[in-house]
Symmetry: C2
Subunit: 259 residues, 2 copies
């Protein structure tokens, strides 16, 4: 019998007569679908691989005191008036906004630049996903950079988990879903029950995992980013397990979990 490697091989506990506890692993493929979930019952992982959540993970790893995600350039400027020491990072459609300290390139988030600093980050899709998830039990930030660290923490929580793909302009994208599949792959044998989108993401990860950059190289988003001349950012964001810090939302700020 053929089956995808992420299709459960054991009876789904939802369909048995046993009342043992079930932990749900659901994937929300785009922010448009967040209203379908009662997010207050989930730990949410926000995913925006190219490049917001990769840069946030790297910045927190490198000692940024906090990263504040905002959706509008104007909000970013308002922070600077109150806190002139804050660094401003603003990007619209993948490009740095004129006059700002930097954009979303992970290379802007080195220890040299961000250690001990607070960064106000304006980003299109990631902030949108964070905002719509704001009532979650807890919100953490995931990327390939801190993949196993995120999975280890989620396993330890053993709590219903929703992986929110920031996508692109509210639609599906392949890179965020592939990362959701990478998480599902690590959690599927640890008592989590996958929903259909998690099964699909996990099976896609099986297709792409042997060479993630090659698998993603022809997607719409990565083509678009290539045109912006940021191939190095893409390669950076697809490195697996080079960091361990997990950013967590605390009020309006993303800070280091347990930090």
């Amino acid at each position: 019998m053929e089956r995808g490697s992420c299709t459960p091989t054991n009876p789904d506990p939802r369909n048995s007569n046993q009342n043992y506890p079930m932990t749900e692993l659901a994937v929300c493929l785009t922010p448009s679908l967040i209203p379908l979930f009662e997010v207050e019952h989930y730990i949410v992982v926000v995913i925006d691989i190219f490049r917001a959540t990769s840069s946030i993970c790297y910045g927190i790893e490198n000692g940024a005191e906090a990263i504040i995600p905002v959706s509008q350039v104007e909000e970013c400027l308002a922070y600077q008036e109150k806190h002139p020491d804050y660094l401003l990072a603003a990007e619209r459609n993948g490009e740095v906004v004129a006059g700002f300290d930097f954009g979303n390139s992970p290379f802007s988030y080195t220890a040299e630049k961000v250690k001990g600093k607070t960064v106000v980050l304006t980003t299109t899709n990631g902030t949108h996903a964070l905002h719509l998830s704001r009532n979650a039990k807890k919100i953490i930030i995931g990327s390939f950079l801190n993949l196993t660290s995120v999975c280890t923490w989620l396993k330890a929580q053993n709590y219903n988990t929703l992986l929110v793909c920031a996508g692109w302009k509210n639609n599906f994208n392949l890179e965020d879903t592939l990362y959701a599949g990478a998480i599902a792959d690590q959690l599927k044998d640890s008592g989590f029950v996958l929903d259909d989108a998690a099964i699909a993401a996990c099976d896609l990860f099986q297709v792409g995992k042997n060479d993630i950059p090659a698998y993603l190289s022809k997607t719409s988003h990565s083509e678009r980013l290539k045109k912006l001349g940021i191939e190095k950012d893409i390669a950076f964001c697809l490195q697996v397990d080079v960091t361990t810090a997990i950013p967590v939302l605390d009020g309006e700020k993303l800070v280091k979990l347990g930090g």
Copy 2:
């Protein structure tokens, strides 16, 4: 270099300097995402594998004069008052509504029962997808039953195509996406450019295609339908290329394309 079999191996025409025409194949993974598309620029294929669009394809193949999709049981009854000869089919949450002729089981749509008849069909997800797609250039109905017939027709049109998965309560489901992937698999080498969701669907189809019933056997929806005792319906809906008729929306009615 590893890549999914549905990832384009030739340069994407969108990213070349050549101005040759491009035909888009996009997948809308749930009805919630339809507003992201300008449907008037697409031929839409509506997909609700378990079981509405499978039953519609089978009914039109078997000589039903027309099938009228409606979203409310009350609308269905209103048709009967005006047209006592119409057959009424109503289902809510997968079960026949009391007092109606039949529900959404494809076995209700045999030639014996529907030939020359008009059927008013109430269905939860399929009608919702049809309604939201109503401004499309043309709307046809797809299922595994008429897969190759649909693909042959789409290739002949060579027009931007949107595959709309009806999903389940506005969220993603695996069976509708797998079928979208089966279409993408047939169209990918015929001048269509796949969006990210179409690439993902196509790659999922590669994972599941050797034994579609086994691949889908553990999904949430098929588990739910099994509980309703309709395993035979599921097996029926997963037969490939047993019909050729293509239902097309004409005003409020689904009729046989070219019929």
